[in-house]
Symmetry: C2
Subunit: 517 residues, 2 copies
């Protein structure tokens, strides 16, 4: 394998891809990708929040290991990403788009001090060599696209908002994309100048320029993430189309878990509690996905044209899903499958993977598997003292994997969320939740509160919380045992690798003789 | 409070202090210390191994949080110690003696690069300002004492071994202290030049020199740790004295847990499996303790003489105990109380603590409580985003502490031990054990093996392992639930403090408006 193309969307629900069963949206290029590889139908993120989920994708570690438990909370400087591992091997991981990486104060100080053996890319960009960084409206990544829009003639002090993410009222005034009532409008930007086109163009240019050398690229779309507003023609492509049903069971919401009840105080949940809002927003969400699909087609076409498709590992996924009004919630974070389950397509061009092309794999895959999959594909060290996921290549290559995992885990830290105040929890209260999901059951443990339990085999929509039902104590016990076993195997000894461990084993420093008579 | 004197012994069993009930050894100065403060009779370390236990004492965090899971395994550079916290407050934590701190490769690189905002003391010495560092025979801390011995006229290429830790045969040849058969001999060093005298003198000199300014000092004895050989007159002070009974139950050893059985292959266990070895070594161990006690008297006397006793917080403890042949084991590491329980005496000179002076406190105390106790005594920030222990001052000052812990936790990582090879576990096998101890029960969970369970209320000697007894499944369940609850509250979000969390709460970056209709 020479190249790696790691494509991520933001807030893309698995069930909106036609290759994942969507009847309301066709995604021909994502489907084509699935036809060339394996689509994992039970792929789960390790957090339903952008930052922690992405850091798990980039480090191969769970949030409680990498420490970035919510957006804008940095990882400790000691955490390394797949970009760091590639650079250790003399390669680079380039970036076109979003990472949500936040350097720690410690890393900033090290960088200012000209410090350590770590590069600026490692300390400030999470190991990514930036082709273009685009974080939407976040100061950490809005300048590249701002300059691009300005050079394209878009005026205003915030062209990202005023043009790319807002429409226009009939009187020509700005209709902000931040207000969902404007989701039906066309973004005031020519589609070729939109965010999705911009990062796609950067990727296409990169792939052309590097055709004669090995490369690794993270193409990371911020869409279909907020603001929900699409450029023409995507803005009204689905305005009159079939929509996914809204999953709602008001009876179950009446006797709801306290943390979920507290989340309903958030603006996005207050808005999406209204079915008309969900119905109004979803066509824009679908249009944004279809736009990504069209540009994905352009990217794949360039790979073919430049003769690199047969030597490029492609991973296509998303950092989490989106409630879109299901359960009366908006956004993400919580542990429902619509948030935690994501599309994950792996295209391995090697002949060893021919037998599985176009198949769906129902075994549990996880965000933490992406780093070991990339390292495996490039024959690089597995970093097993840090990486907590497993390479997916044996599955993609139809090799035996008898001891494959039978459950997945996810986490949430809501310490910085309004919900903590609603619950009256002090700032030093532990505000974490933990999901364990098997094929049939989902347990959500909450520090300080009773757990939730769902029997997915009979209740796939997760309407009936059995967390307080005495009859299911044995199930809660066995699910809790899984969570404990998971916690007890997280990788904590990160400062030495396994070669060092083997060299140290039963081998005290010279001159030390313990225990001799 | 102006000063902190944090005194640690190495491998000192709690039951060898007369203030902890020893009938076979009198420790008048340790007893005098207890008379001036509070002796915690149920104080436990977070690992039965020097390095990880000390890093828990110095960081206030559990080994699976600080990452130094065995000796010579560094913490990630992102971990901070009480020395770092004091230096952030413009103070310093000085060191006379042992820390077992190992800088990570990352910290070494940062130091070489003149990097970061961290001092050399922080990067290379774990936050300690070194007065003298003494790690016995370890290259990280043998030069100061070597030079001292050489200046005192002790010859040879390794005076630490040849003089301070070896005796002499009748023919004048060196009888190495590494061989326990020489434990009855006098170390070939004048007592005032011995290791215990050396670090005591350094502390005394420090306390005199800094009498007019606030100071914090870690006085850290390497004794009664190996080699078991004492200078005259301590070498035969207890040769004919009463000894503690040897705790042994060969029947229980017959059907032993596989990890314990594997430990019996270690040299120290093969030797201490012989009762004559244990009997031969214990008088030297007792002599080394009594020697420390005498020097502790000198240190306390100087505090009084210089008028600093009334403004100095004193913490006296040990990094773990010693099997000394109990259960047929030598050394430490495993989860028996003789290893995990340590002396912990806190002397708080403030009038608020007058009511508790001379009392014993049977509530559970832990190594991770020392950092918060020191920060509390000095009115410094609690570092609650990192520190996992609790200040003991409320207990010492007789304040209400209704929600005080009712169990303690400890950990072991035997990946680098011969036991892993004996068990046939590969280098990437998870080799960790986890102890949960309540007043009545002790559960030891082992990754990859069945747990151990002991009913301490009826079996205080931990002879009868109920880990496989179906009748006790409910107890194992409840103890496992405690372990899970503990794991789920460990501090993983270390890169931002609680002020930052509060500032971030329900407060997105400027210009971001999520969820508005």
């Amino acid at each position: 394998m020479r190249n790696v193309l790691f494509i991520m969307c933001d807030q893309l629900r698995a069930d909106y891809l036609s290759c994942y069963g969507s009847s309301w949206l066709r995604t021909p290029n994502m489907d084509a990708l699935a036809a060339r590889g394996v689509a994992f139908t039970q792929a789960y993120v390790q957090s339903g929040v952008c930052g922690p989920s992405r850091m798990s994708f980039y480090t191969g570690r769970y949030p409680s290991s990498h420490g970035a438990t919510w957006n804008f909370i940095p990882m400790p400087m000691s955490e390394l990403t797949v970009g760091d591992y590639l650079s250790q091997a003399g390669r680079a991981l380039h970036l076109a788009g979003k990472t949500h990486f936040e350097p720690s104060a410690e890393a900033m100080a090290a960088w200012r001090g000209g410090a350590s053996d770590r590069s600026a890319a490692s300390l400030l960009q999470g190991g990514f060599e930036v082709v273009c960084r685009h974080e939407g409206d976040l100061p950490t990544g809005k300048e590249d696209y701002r300059r691009y829009l300005e050079s394209a003639g878009y005026a205003g002090d915030d062209p990202w908002l005023q043009h790319a993410n807002s429409g226009r009222h009939p009187d020509g005034s700005v209709a902000s994309g931040w207000q969902m009532r404007h989701a039906h409008l066309a973004a005031h930007v020519a589609e070729p100048h939109s965010e999705t086109a911009y990062v796609s163009n950067a990727a296409i240019d990169f792939i052309r320029r590097h055709r004669d050398e090995p490369w690794s690229l993270h193409l990371s779309y911020i869409k279909p993430h907020w603001p929900y507003i699409a450029p023409a023609p995507y803005h009204d492509m689905y305005r009159r189309a079939e929509q996914a049903p809204i999953r709602r069971n008001r009876a179950s919401e009446a006797a709801e878990h306290p943390v979920l009840a507290a989340y309903r105080s958030h603006d996005e949940c207050r808005s999406f509690d209204r079915e008309d809002v969900a119905r109004h927003v979803r066509p824009a969400y679908m249009g944004l996905i279809r736009q990504i699909d069209d540009h994905l087609g352009r990217v794949l076409e360039v790979l073919e044209q430049t003769g690199q498709a047969d030597r490029t590992l492609i991973v296509f996924t998303s950092d989490h899903g989106d409630f879109l009004g299901d359960y009366g919630f908006g956004e993400k974070e919580l542990f429902h499958d619509v948030v935690q389950r994501v599309p994950l397509i792996v295209v391995d061009p090697s002949p060893a993977a021919d037998a599985t092309r176009g198949t769906h794999d129902g075994r549990f895959a996880a965000a933490v598997d992406v780093v070991p999959t990339i390292l495996d594909a490039l024959d690089l060290p597995a970093q097993a003292h840090r990486v907590e996921g497993r390479s997916l290549l044996p599955l993609v290559r139809g090799e035996a994997a008898d001891d494959w995992r039978d459950c997945v885990f996810s986490e949430l830290d809501y310490a910085t969320r309004r919900a903590r105040h609603v619950l009256g929890r002090p700032r030093d209260a532990d505000c974490r939740g933990w999901m364990v999901r098997t094929a049939d059951w989902k347990l959500v443990a909450w520090n300080g509160y009773r757990p939730q339990l769902f029997h997915l085999a009979e209740d796939p929509d997760e309407f009936h919380d059995l967390g307080a039902d005495p009859a299911f104590e044995p199930v809660r016990q066995s699910m809790s045992a899984r969570l404990l076993a998971h916690q007890l195997t997280l990788k904590r000894r990160i400062a030495v690798d396994l070669d060092r461990i083997e060299a140290m084993t039963d081998n005290l420093p010279p001159g030390i003789h313990i225990g001799q008579w």
